[in-house]
């Protein structure tokens, strides 16, 4: 089964076209155009990977990241940014992002990152299960 993905970007056109391109490749992709909405969606829906824009009006990407990680620590988050910045990039990692990718991005690169995120999430899950089993 392929990963379930949420794309969060205030540029609706970008989010939609990305979702479409992922759907063509059999991913289950949903979109969200602001932080608040994204957090809601994440809380009631189990996404494997969230693609999150760093710069958004209202709640910015770093804040949204923190909330997502609070609600669903295992969900992998990939930050999207049009402006690479050392400080913000590192800050995102500190808050638990898996990686970041520059916009506009090659779809192939993005997909390999999503797949890696999905695999990582499953490994984590597996590991936690294993520890629970052996701890019993």
């Amino acid at each position: 089964m392929k990963a379930k993905i949420l794309i969060v970007d205030d540029e609706e056109k970008f989010a939609n076209s990305l979702a479409e391109r992922l759907s063509i490749r059999d991913y289950d992709a949903a979109t969200s155009v602001n932080g608040q909405d994204a957090i809601e969606k994440v809380s009631y829906c189990n996404f494997d990977v969230v693609m999150l824009d760093l710069v958004m009006p209202g709640m910015d990407g770093l804040k949204v990241l923190r909330e997502i990680k609070k609600i669903k620590p295992l969900t992998e988050v990939i930050m999207l940014t049009a402006l690479p910045n050392v400080e913000i990039g590192v800050e995102a990692m500190k808050r638990g992002a898996m990686d970041y990718i520059l916009k506009p991005c090659e779809i192939e690169e993005l997909i390999s990152m999503i797949d890696r995120g999905y695999a990582r999430k499953n490994e984590q899950k597996e590991r936690i299960r294993a520890t629970e089993v052996s701890g019993r």
Partner: protein, 867 residues
Amino acid sequence: MLGLKQVIKKIFGGKQKSSNTEKSPDDAINSRFKTKYWNFKNLLSINNTILESMSKIELALQGSQKFGMEFIRENCTSISVNIYKLIKKINDISDSHYETLYHSFANIQYGINQILEEKEKSFDGKPVLSIEEINTDSANYTGSKMANLGEIMNLTGINVPHGFVITVPAYHLFLKYSDLQKNINQQLQSVDIEDIKMLKMASSNIQKLIMQSPVPPELEATIFDGYKRLQEKTEKDVKVSMRSSALGEDSQESSFAGQYHTELNVRFKTLIDSYKKIIAGKYSIQAITYRFNKGLRDEDIVMCVGCMTMVEAVSSGVMYSKDPDGIHNDRVIINAVPGLGKAAVEGSVSPDLFEVSREQTFRLLKKEIHVKDQKTLFFSNKELRIIELSEQDKYGPAITDEQAYSLEKQAVILENHFNTPQDIEWAIEKDGMIRILQSRPLKQLKKEANEFIHTSLSIKVNNQTILSGGVAASPGVACGPAFVVNTAEEIYKFPAGAVLVAKNSLPYLATILNRAAAVVTDLGGIAGHLATVSREFNIPALFGTFVATQRIENKAIITVDTYSRKVYEGKAEALLKEFSAKRINSIKGSPVYITLEKVLKHIAPLNLTDPKGNNFTPEGCRTYHDITRFCHEMAVKEMFDSGTNNRQIKAGKRLVVDVPTQWWIIDLGDGLKGSMEKDTVGLENITSVPMLALWEGMMAVKWDGPPSIDIGGFMSIMVQSTMNRDLCASSRSIYTQNNCAIISKNFCNFSCRCGYHYSVAQTFVSDKSRENYIKFCFKGGAADHNRKFLRMKLIEEILVKYDFQVEIYEDYINATITGYDQFSTIKRLKMLGYLTMHTRQLDMIMGNSTRTAYYKKKLLKDISLWF
């Protein structure tokens, strides 16, 4: 293709029970080991990503490719993020044993940030200054163009139009009001500067953005106030011209000639819109390209805007107080056209040429009058008019001899005042009054040009002459296929290395100038903007030939020689041999280049070279490279050192062999057989097919020891050693550090680090050809760039010979091969084992071509053993 991941899955996966010979009864330990192994594997891959990125930016520093701030930001961010991940991983592996690495990381990151972060903006000072209030000292507020005008306004005998300037603080106020800079940077970040279509889109987006952004009301009021004061000094409803006066513009090194926008005949009502248009001009395609080619940082360029009363010019033009060729320094060179000077600087006509002696008595050294059959722009009665000249004016000179003389005197005054030759824009009004519109330093070429003319004329050229004549706007000889540009759209198709042929020498052509071998035009003089930019980029340019577009056939190979002012058919070998084109790499020493140099100091130098050294600690890490090196060493230690402390899980066994080396083996399942000690294994225990192949290759031929070093090589290492202090000590021993192999029957990940060289081979070999692969990475240091490069080329040559796909970044090599049958893959593994062992220190002798040839022959001969 079965990668490491699948191999691991196969072995550790839930359903297929592991056939591990050392089955641990304790599942918890087993699971801890799994996690640890995963982390280790991840760490290695992050490690390689970092080394690759580092090599990429080191390569950029060689200066053979151009890059912008976007490139630096992107790579610094990527490396920083990965270093953070690396530190996290090593702490995951070691139960948070190396948390102090975060401190070293924070320090380095701070250093890099300081360099990349934008400087504090100055909002201090008046947003509008009258021209009487400024002089050369004001350049930091007004841009040098307006500052110079303010300065010369006070000189006797010089007249400048009245006006005012909208200053640096105004610019910052405007940008801040709508947070424009961030949006602009975002647009620029994604642009591939070589892709003109993409560039055009970004340029147009940014310009639209600027035009749509409001000017803050208080700034608007100040500008209106400036205009009202100008009215009081001149007349009601005075019309002004608005021109850029950028900071960083108009130095001898970067003229920015004609790259920006000018608005003529501006009324009160359109002041603000025109102001925005000039600001937007900073992002015209040619201005963006120009900055990129010059290595200028976008944020360093601030647009001030000069507003000056329109001059009712009957004639105007450009003059140079000395010859830009640096040959005829006894004369002032004047280009003149009727009406407004736009045509002269834009190069859309061939202007009249006057060369006036600088002696006290008036002497005309040269006078060339051209037919003015084009419509001409005039400003009179407060309106711009485009009119056809009378028959008499068409054939007559644009200025009189007396006027040429007066202009010459003013040029000398200006040169004396600024103490350097000047490039001057001027206009003459109806009553004969000369107005100076701009005066900036002139870039003069070196004197050698004179000798070149003699050389050029003495060479016998057998090629057919296509045309002869015109003016040498920028000197040189170059050859290439002609590309005739008729419309602005055609520049998108301009191929790199072609000779640009065009009717006019219009400034927009500067966009593709850097890709052109030479430029030939029908119209235009040496004082135009395109001429100035051609000289800056050292691109031969022959203007004003009148017949270029008629006589030169599109796509025909031609040779341009500006010394003899001729264009030849085909490749004029005799000339080209004499004048091998030397392009200035204009990015070295530029602000962008210097920025990269500065950040690299925090990234690339390796201080931690000796794992036994006192500084081999988290605190000793002063660069990202140090952190990478430290994490790698510690990760290997954590994985394979056994028993020394109870944090460790025994994961690896030491390989006992009769060579003095440290090899750690980690068995993923079926890579070992037979009885063995708890902590050690012998070669006879190893069943891993690829491991054995690599090993055989390594041991097949006795290593000669490090090649004896030639003097140049030794010097090069001495120089490099100033940064890497213990290099010399370690260079004589190859068996100093930990090497490790992770194996199964068909899989092997083989990494070895030795002094400066680090190589990894990962491979899977079985009888299913489709799944077989080898991935080989090598990063080598010491010696200087040239030697490293030669060694890389040698390795590449060998790898390519045996069908590997090879990528090289600076001193990082990445080679892969997939899908070969078992037999062929094993042969190549043996070859890699051999190469790993024998190419290590070859760069030290790479300066010597006979020695290089000798070693190359020897390597190829040894390798042929297996093929």
